[in-house]
Structures are given as structure tokens and as C-alpha cells.
Amino acid sequence: MSFRDRLKETRAKASDGFRGGKLMSSIFRPGSPFRKGYVDSPRNRSYVVMNNVLYHLHPVKVKRHGVRLSYTLCLGGLSFFLFIVLTITGIWLMFYFRPTELAYVDIQNLQTTIAFGSLVRNMHRWGAHLMVLVVFLHMSRVFYHGAYKAPREFNWVIGVILLLLTLLLSFTGYLLPWDQLAIWAVTVGGNMAGYVPVVGAQVKFGLFAGLEATTATLLRFYVLHVLFFPFIIVIFMAVHFWRVRKDGGISGPL
């Protein structure tokens, strides 16, 4: 036996000992590829999904037609993924942003002096536009497949609420760069709220934190954008995903 073979064997044994040891088997649950003796068996394929807190959003088995990319186009999953990307880039951007008169200067600094600042800002902005689009396409796909029908009626309602929250998130984020584009787009949008019968003026005042878009509006939109709406949307997303499972998974083939 050559030295190289022996080295290989020792390494394999050490790896097995580590992967079969107390630490790894307490961290990873049965069926994990990181555990010793993982083989590709139906049981382990089930365990991979069941024994991971993220993957267990999926059922262990899905209808065959649901796997075809052309059926769902992955639009629901992509919406969720874009939300995650926006959360991470958003948190990063927050470290360089103050929701005051300094907001515009902060964005300028971000674009010019912070490493990757411009890229991350672009990702956040285009990602937000993409998310509006993808959520809307997801909704259209669901409509054309008639997937809103019993027993999925209520999940459609939640879906519409999620689209609304996505629009609100995008709209409140629109003001944050505090440039002419931001302030006037939000003014146009906020003025629309003023046309609501009876309570229009109050709604507009509440939205703007005053009579027009000022730095008070900026702070308000900032908090709505970074925490209030995300908090709400995460709750609705949890219910949405959960209902998909409970209502019998993806809707049947056409």
C-alpha cells in the first residue's frame, strides 16, 4: 500500500469519524448529506426536505406537473427570493443612510466613496422593480391556471394583500434618495390619497406627516419602508406559504 493510499484511507476514516461523531450528528438531522453514511435513497430524499427548517416549507413530494418549469415558471419562489435579496441589500444600505436632510448627501457618498455602494444601491432599486413585476406575473399565472378556486380562495386574497404590500414597500422606498424624482413622485402619489372621500385630508396628513412632503415625511416613509411593511409582509408571507401546503400544494394540472 503506497503512502498516498494510506493517507487517503486515513483521511477517509477521519472524515467518517468526524461526520459520524457526536457533534455532527447533533447538528445535522437524519438524512443530511453532512452525516456519515448518506446514500441517495427515497427515505433520505424525504429526510432532506423534512429535516431542514427552510426546506420544510416544501412538502416531501410534489405533483409531477408542478416540477415542470413551464408550469409555474418559479415565479412564487423568485418573489420570495427577491424579497430576501432586497432585505439583505437593504440592511447594508441602511448603514450608510440617515433619514434626515442628510439623506441626499448620504446617497451621493454611497455612490461615490463607499466600496460597492453604487452596485448595492442599483441591486436594491432594480430588484424592487423586478419584485413588483415578478409578483404581478405570479398573480397572473395563478389566475390563468384558475388556481384561486376552492380550496384556495383565501390564499388568493392573501396574495392580493401581498401585491399591495409590495407596491407600498416600493412606493415608500421611492422617497428615500430624497432627490427631485423621489419627492415629486411621492407628492403625486400622496395627493391621490387626498381624494379619498370624507377622510382624504386626514389620510394625506398622516402619510406626509404634514401638508406636503418634508423631512418628516422622509422619516415616516423610512420607518414604514425598513421595518413596518416588512414586518407585516413577513406575517402574510408565512400565512401564504403555509396555506399553499394546507390547501393541498400546487393546483392540479390543467
Partner: protein, 296 residues
């Protein structure tokens, strides 16, 4: 005591009456404990059990239990309640298919789907046969077996590829397209035109036709929210194939085309004073787009 549904009791009483040669009312009274049980003079004929009922999740049928104080040799009591709880409504259908030739000692058959931890202990026969209910399924299983595949790897791999593709696309887009940043906000200088974000430009376009109370409030609230949310409750047609729901498809497509047209007009064809312009003549007045042209 488990509450036995009337129709099961009835069927059980019929069988008992036939076996013992007594009236159905008498059998029923015995089974309810209102009368002394008839003494069985001959060995009761044991019937064949073809199938135990398989309740579905949506309309759960009560467990088919025949419990009675009368002398009985055997009952079939699938313990389903617990199990249904664990399997998230999917009841394990336990199927027994046995054809004993004769029954000197009646063949005991016990189907048991126990709880997660309660391993089935040694079965002790504590009851004797009252009667064996002829097994007509309480409800026929009508669902077809569904063709399913393992999520891992058949769904999760395509998903992973889609996520990676989306990430690559987003990073590529962000590298070549610079997000707009105009001059600092100034409430005293109104740009002409002042446009909303693109997803609201359809609405803004409508605002130029109708009264804001209608175009800005009524339409988005009633059409955009209430009608959309209520759609599953309005559309009572249970079909899902497009050819059988032409109206719904047509409705949505019209809506899509209308919203798309309005948005495109708002983004591209509106200039100063919200007047009609041609983007190839007068340029694009949507600030976002103006800036996109300056590649990084």
C-alpha cells in the same frame, strides 16, 4: 364512550337481527344496552371483511366502531384520531383482505395505526364478537392516485438554478444600469411633468381623463382591491381548464391589456403639461428612463 353514528348502528343491528333471527328493533335495543342480550345458541357465521372504510381528509367519516356491552368476540377498531393528527389530515388507510376457509376459531384481525411513540403492545382480546358489519365503504374513495415526485432533487434543483439565474441577472443589470439620482429634493421647483413610479403611471394617466374621485380613488379601491380580492367568491365556475372558463380569461386579459396600455402611455407618451408626445421625436419624459440611457 364513542358516539356511534345512527346509520352504522342501524346496519349493525340489521346484521345482528339476521344472524340471531330476532327483530331489528330488538337487536337495536340490545346494542344500546336497553335490553338483555339474546343468548347465542349457535356459532355466529362470520362474514368476510373486504375493506375497512377509508375516510378522506375533507369530510372525515366517523371511525367505524362497533362497541357494545353484548358478548362479542372481535371488533375492528382502527385508531385513527391520533394518527390523523400526526399525518396532518392524511388518514392512513389500513386495508385488510382476508378470506379464511372456515372459522373454527374466528380469525382475529386487528389493524392498528398507533401514535408516534406508542408502539403497539401485545394485543389482548378483551371483547367477543357482537357482529361483523358487512363492509360497504361508508364513502367510496374517489380520488385518483396522483403522480408525485420527490421534492429533493426534482423541485429543489430547478429552483436553485432559477435563483442563481435571477441573482446573475440582477447583478448584471445593476452593473450596467445606473439607478437615477437627480438634484436634491426641492419643494419649490416642480418638474414638468411630475410622474409617479411606473407601476402607478396607469392610474396617473386615468387621472387625466376623469375626476380624481373616480380615477384616483374609486377605480383603484373597487377594481384594484375589492374586486380582485373577491374574485374567487364571485367566480363560482369550478373548472380550471382555459377552454371552460373563457369569460374569466377574457376578463383578465382585457384588464391586463388596459392596464398595460395606460402604463405605457403614461411612461412613454406623456410630456410637459401631460400632453401627448412621441418618445422618438421629443424624447422620454419619465425621469427614470432618461437616466437609464446613461450607461455606467
Amino acid at each position: 364512550m364513542v358516539d356511534i353514528p345512527e346509520h352504522l348502528l342501524q346496519r349493525s343491528a340489521e346484521a345482528r337481527a339476521k344472524a340471531l333471527g330476532i327483530s331489528i328493533e330488538q337487536a337495536m335495543a340490545e346494542m344500546k344496552g336497553q335490553s338483555d342480550p339474546t343468548v347465542i345458541s349457535k356459532e355466529p357465521e362470520v362474514k368476510v371483511i373486504d375493506e375497512t372504510p377509508t375516510p378522506t381528509a375533507e369530510t372525515p367519516a366517523p371511525p367505524p366502531e362497533t362497541s357494545a356491552p353484548a358478548p362479542a368476540a372481535e371488533t375492528i377498531t382502527p385508531i385513527k384520531e391520533e394518527h390523523a393528527a400526526e399525518t396532518t389530515e392524511k388518514v392512513a388507510a389500513v386495508k385488510i383482505d382476508e378470506k379464511p376457509a372456515a372459522a373454527k376459531p374466528p380469525p382475529p384481525a386487528k389493524a392498528d395505526a398507533p401514535d408516534e411513540v406508542d408502539f403497539a403492545p401485545e394485543v389482548k382480546v378483551t371483547q367477543r364478537l357482537l357482529t361483523v358489519v358487512k363492509a360497504k365503504p361508508i364513502q367510496k374513495p374517489v380520488k385518483e392516485p396522483i403522480d408525485k415526485v420527490n421534492t429533493w432533487p426534482h423541485l429543489m434543483l430547478p429552483e436553485f438554478v432559477a435563483l442563481m439565474a435571477m441573482t446573475a441577472f440582477l447583478i448584471f443589470l445593476s452593473a450596467i444600469l445606473q439607478a437615477p439620482l437627480l438634484e436634491e429634493a426641492n419643494p419649490n421647483v416642480t418638474p414638468n411633468p411630475a410622474k409617479a413610479p411606473w407601476y402607478f403611471l396607469g392610474l396617473q394617466e386615468m387621472l387625466s381623463y376623469w375626476d380624481p374621485q373616480i380615477a384616483g380613488v374609486m377605480i383603484p379601491t373597487v377594481v384594484g382591491l375589492i374586486l380582485w380580492m373577491a374574485f374567487p367568491y364571485i367566480d363560482r365556475n369550478p373548472e380550471t381548464h382555459p377552454s371552460k372558463r373563457k369569460f374569466a380569461i377574457m376578463f383578465y386579459t382585457f384588464f391586463l391589456a388596459g392596464a398595460g396600455t395606460l402604463t405605457i402611455i403614461g411612461v412613454l407618451f406623456r410630456g410637459p403639461g401631460w400632453n401627448w408626445v412621441y418618445p422618438w421625436i421629443d424624447g422620454i419624459w419619465f425621469d427614470d428612463l432618461l437616466d437609464w440611457i446613461h450607461f455606467e
